[in-house]
Amino acid sequence: MTLREIKELLDAEVLVGQNQLDKDVKSAFVADLMSDVLAFATSGSLLITGLTNPQVVRTADVLDIAAIIMGRGKKPSPETFQLAEELNIPIIATKYILFEISGRLYSKGIRGCIEKVGSK
């Protein structure tokens, strides 16, 4: 799925990364704990989260995450926004809760970047 299609599907706003809407993604990881993201998320995945601080962008940068999806109506703080622009990491904001985001993406073929822990 492209980021453009994801934006439509989630009735979302692309806050950073308007120039990357053709980027294609196949997998995702949901978490509010950054060390869990660091342990399990794979590069090129979507990071679905309710956190809005700059560490989300740092974490995404370290892992080469394709885009950050901020759910539950959360918006990045000004520092987060600025850092995402600087590091060129897309931020997509939606009012859907994380469960809805995941379900909608799954129904369109997006899969978890791992299914279970210990089964990399």
Partner: protein, 151 residues
């Protein structure tokens, strides 16, 4: 890593304890340095992950510290050295889920008690030592699987 080997890159990055606003900046810089050397994506990712978890721990639990980066053709050496409270029980600190993180740290999304485990599992060699009231020393080596690097 041979001690006498001339490094392709050698650098020291200062990390300030308690400076949560800039936490992660050093790791971003380390990542750019490694990327420019033409190392594989996977190797760069592992090294920046290890640097990032170490940096966040220094910011979270120490007064001040530094991250030293040394790259030779076969491997990347990352050392995280801090002055701070140190770790009384290393075995306990290494347990997944064990954390003494404050609310401030948890607000940033840290405090899962996974950092040291992540560092260990993404490094090819991992060493930790600590002295209570003095500080903590981490040494990580990541193999590059690479023979021809741009300097």
């Amino acid at each position: 890593m041979r001690v006498d080997e001339k490094p392709i890159y050698e650098g020291t990055f200062t990390v300030t304890g308690g400076n949560f606003d800039n936490a992660g900046e050093v790791s971003s810089n380390i990542k750019s340095v490694l990327k420019r050397m033409g190392l594989s994506r996977d190797v760069v990712r592992k090294a920046s992950l290890v640097a990032y978890e170490s940096e966040i721990n220094i910011v979270s639990y120490a007064r001040k510290g530094m991250i030293r980066l040394r790259v030779v053709p076969e491997s990347i050496l990352i050392e995280a050295i801090d002055e701070g409270q140190g770790i009384a029980d290393i075995e306990l600190a290494m347990q997944p889920g064990y954390s003494t993180a404050t609310d401030k740290i948890r607000e940033m999304g840290f405090g899962a008690g996974m950092g040291l485990c992540n560092i260990k599992s993404f490094s090819d060699t991992f060493l930790i030592s600590s002295e209570v009231g003095k500080g903590t020393y981490l040494k990580m080596i990541i193999k590059t699987n690479n023979r021809s690097l741009n300097s």
